[in-house]
């Protein structure tokens, strides 16, 4: 399958900090999850791919367009839908107006076609009924959906979502996951998240970043398989484990190299992710 996004050697430094270190990746149709601890460079990678900041070195293409040129960058932006980590809104705009405004900034010029498109994406995120309501009067989940609608407007081929489920309650999170899954049909979605559950439920591929580098790239099953035979239960925290935590039953779940005779458990994606971090402090919310 021809990749939608192809990047090689992306490197970016902020002062003495390496935010991206020789990152190469290929993304194709479907939802790809981007996991990593805080400071791993996830948001920086998304911002580079969204053309918000240029990389110091390396190159990438989106749907064959090279953002290194002015016209190429415009073509990339035309193909791009971007939901930033903490999306901001114009609170006095209605949901319709805000998405319409973004549509204009995406240079959808024909008014009637644009309005049809805005209605389509608002319907897709289930906001048709409140499209005339001011954003400041919408709930957090509704606002997040307005942000997704703004990202989806114009039917972009490449959708970049930066931690879209943060701050949502479980019900809203489930609804949002459904929307993302629907969005992944027929387009490439790169989803940055702390939630391994998001990845397990949504993604056909997963990338794990640590300190600006890609530590793992594969399917969620492959990431999970990394922990096969390396997860065990114990009555006390095993000092030999790379990570361990008390579970709801009172026993401890450990990942790492199990001792002989350990009570092995079925691995999860989270276990695979923790093992991939290899000692990096992880921030995981299952």
């Amino acid at each position: 399958m021809t990749p939608t996004v192809s990047a090689s050697g992306l490197t970016l430094r902020y002062g003495g900090t390496v935010a991206l270190d020789d990152v190469s990746l290929r993304l194709s149709e479907g939802v790809t999850g981007l996991l990593g601890p805080n400071g791993a460079g996830k948001t920086t990678l998304l911002r580079v791919l969204a053309t918000a900041v240029p990389a110091d070195r390396g190159a990438f293409t989106v749907l064959g367009h090279d953002p290194g040129t002015t016209s190429g960058r415009l073509d990339v932006r035309r193909a791009l839908g971007y939901l930033p980590q903490t999306p901001a809104f114009h609170p006095d705009f209605s949901a319709f107006e805000f998405v319409d405004y973004v549509a204009i900034l995406k240079e959808l010029t024909d008014r009637s076609a644009r309005h049809r498109e805005v209605r389509r994406v608002l319907e897709a995120v289930d906001l048709s009924d409140v499209r005339g309501k001011r954003i400041k009067r919408l709930s957090g989940g509704m606002r997040q959906r307005v942000g997704l609608a703004a990202a989806l407007v114009g039917d972009p081929g490449f959708l970049v979502l930066d931690e879209p489920t943060v701050g949502l309650d479980p019900e809203q999170r489930m609804r949002f996951r459904e929307l993302i899954a629907e969005s992944g049909v027929g387009r490439t979605v790169l989803l940055s998240t702390h939630q391994t559950e998001d990845v397990a439920m949504l993604c056909h591929r997963v990338i794990v970043m640590v300190r600006g580098s890609i530590r793992f790239e594969g399917t969620p099953a492959e990431l999970t398989a990394r922990a096969a035979g390396r997860v065990w239960s114990s009555t006390a925290r095993d000092p030999g484990a790379r990570a361990g935590w008390r579970t709801g039953t009172g026993s401890f779940r450990n990942v790492g190299d199990p001792p002989k005779g350990a009570d092995l458990l079925e691995p999860t994606l989270e276990d695979g992710y923790l093992l991939t971090l290899d000692g990096e402090p992880a921030e995981v919310a299952a």
Binding site: A50, T51, A52, L74, R77, R78, L80, Y82, P84, P87, A88, F89, H90, P91, D92, F93, S94, F96, E97, D100, Y101, V102, I104, L105, K106, E107, L108, T109, D110, R111, S112, A113, R114, H115, R116, E117, R119, R120, E123, V130, R131, G132, K133, R134, R137, A150, G154, D155
Partner: protein, 524 residues
């Protein structure tokens, strides 16, 4: 109240069924800028201050057009009317400046700029759209200005001709506000910068105006230069560089906008070229409007002021002659009507006197001259100004009556005696509402006590006793007074006749107050 607080969303037709994603929606980048400008213009219109000032502008203009001002607007001077349209849009321009500035900074203020910066339309194009969002308001202003001017031009008493350049200044000031609002936002990206900027501009303008004592070229750097004196001038004496000023404003607007775009990242060759061109246009405009009044213009003003007969056209109506500047020749019939009305009430030789009514201005001190017209020295010459209608008509009648009674305007300035009674009766006796006219023509707008009645040159003074006699006379049917006036013309127009005698001669109650029995002189 519904939980849904909705905004007015102007949408195209409602959806029908499931719709596919939009296809091929990027035909033209300029169209996108225009689409954003339309969006922002609609947002501006939804701002309460903009809406309020827009309505205030319309209401103020409408009030000026329709309140009538007791007939004074029935004879508009069109080359003054065009200039009078320039000031009212300034308040709208100010509120648009503030609102557009806030709109430009909206993304920064609300944190959407990081998101919007990865969208297709570059920030400098967004700035351009913000500036263009002022265009509908400029067009609206142009319509109001056009309507205001057309309304005046269609009046039967309109004189002169307007200038398109003068009419364009109001709409251009709106566009200037838009460009300036964008530039300030892009230069100082904080909304709190606006109030100090506005105050700073005001202080700077005031200081410059004060320090240069009205130096012409500095004065004309302001967007609106209103010069208005007591009397309208013939259009060829205006000497306003209106066309150059429009060129200057156009250059300034484009230059300010280009600077905003350049600051905002729009450093394209085209914008750089337009910047240079705008600078050249603005410089040309400044150069064109800078020189001030030419020697030829000053000479023409002096000639029209001191020897108006050399530039005027004279026409005869009945036994009198009426001389007007070329643009006012259509008003001579109105003047003649007043003269004939006044003269018909007079007796003695005054009833058949051949008067010369001469229109005059004093243009020697420039357009903002407020100096009163000097009385004409020649016998039988009556001065008429360049304003007509409303109070100007009875004031002219007072002037005509004064000359009929005293012989010339210079002498009429020395009327402090009972002759003021007959002058005022001649002037107002044939009016349908003479007491109302008396109130209008008096400086203090009263009909009791002493006062001054205005005339084109010298006013006529009257004391309380004379005012009482005048009131009594004006309340009597004029046909009962006319025979007595004609019969006693010599005594009534004699400076030696007292007010009490005048009252007795004309058959009205004799006043008893001070000044009724003595012959008052101006020295008293």
């Amino acid at each position: 109240m519904s939980e849904l607080v909705t905004r007015t969303v102007v949408e195209e037709a409602a959806p029908t069924g499931v719709e596919p994603p939009a296809q091929d929606l990027h035909p033209n980048r300029t169209r996108a800028v225009i689409a954003l400008a339309r969006f922002e213009a609609r947002e501006l219109l939804m701002q309460i201050p903009v809406l309020v000032f827009l309505l205030l502008y319309v209401a103020y203009t409408g009030w000026g057009m329709f309140n009538g001002r007791e007939g004074m607007d029935d004879y508009p001077v069109l080359h003054d009317v065009d200039r009078s349209t320039q000031t009212a849009p300034l308040l709208l321009a100010l509120v648009l400046f503030v609102s557009i500035n806030r709109a430009v900074l909206r993304s920064r203020r609300q944190g959407t700029d990081r998101h919007f910066d990865v969208l297709v339309m570059e920030p400098w194009r967004r700035s351009l759209a913000h500036a263009l969002s002022a265009v509908p308001f400029a067009v609206f202003t142009a319509l109001v200005v056009g309507f205001e001017f057309t309304w005046a031009a269609l009046k039967p008493g309109a004189v002169g001709h307007g200038s398109l350049a003068e009419l364009l200044v109001g709409p251009l000031s709106i566009l200037l506000a838009g460009a300036l609002g964008v530039l300030v936002a892009r230069s100082i990206p904080f909304t709190f910068a606006v109030p100090p900027f506005v105050i700073g501009m005001y202080v700077l303008t005031t200081l410059v105006a004060a320090s240069t004592q009205g130096t012409h070229w500095v004065q004309w750097l302001a967007p609106v230069v209103t010069e208005e004196g007591a009397h309208p001038f013939p259009s060829d004496l205006l000497g306003r560089p209106a066309a150059w000023h429009v060129l200057y404003l156009v250059g300034l607007i484009v230059l300010l906008l280009c600077l905003a775009l350049l600051i905002n990242g729009g450093r394209t060759p085209r914008i750089k070229a337009i910047t240079v061109l705008a600078l050249a246009v603005m410089a040309q405009g400044i150069a064109g409007q800078a020189p001030g009044d030419s020697a030829a213009l000053i000479a023409a003003r002096a000639k029209a002021s001191a020897t108006p007969e050399k530039v005027q056209t004279c026409v005869a109506h009945e036994r009198s002659t009426y001389c007007a500047y070329p643009e006012w020749t259509g008003q001579t019939a109105d003047w003649a009507e007043v003269v004939q009305r006044v003269q018909s009430l007079a007796g003695g030789p005054a009833s058949a006197e051949r008067l010369t009514v001469r229109q005059r201005v004093d243009a020697r001190s420039g357009l903002e001259s407020d100096s009163a017209l000097e009385p004409a020295k020649a016998p039988g010459v009556v001065t008429v100004g360049t304003r007509w209608g409303g109070n100007r008509i009875p004031e002219f009648a007072v002037g005509v009556a004064s000359v009929l009674v005293t012989g010339d305007e210079t002498s009429s300035g020395e009327v402090c005696d009972a002759r003021s009674v007959i002058i005022m009766w001649l002037a107002l006796g044939s009016e349908s509402h003479p007491l109302t006219m008396l109130r209008h023509v008096r400086l203090d707008d009263s009909i009791t006590g002493g006062g001054l009645a205005l005339a084109p040159t010298n006013p006529v003074s009257m004391n309380a006793a004379q005012t009482e006699v005048i009131k009594e006379l004006l309340q009597k049917p004029r046909y009962s007074v006319i025979p007595k006036v004609k019969a006693h013309w010599a005594e009534l127009t004699s400076p030696k006749t007292t007010t009490a005698q005048v009252a007795q001669l004309l058959g009205v109650p004799t006043p008893t107050g001070p000044g009724a029995l003595s012959v008052k002189t101006c020295e008293e």
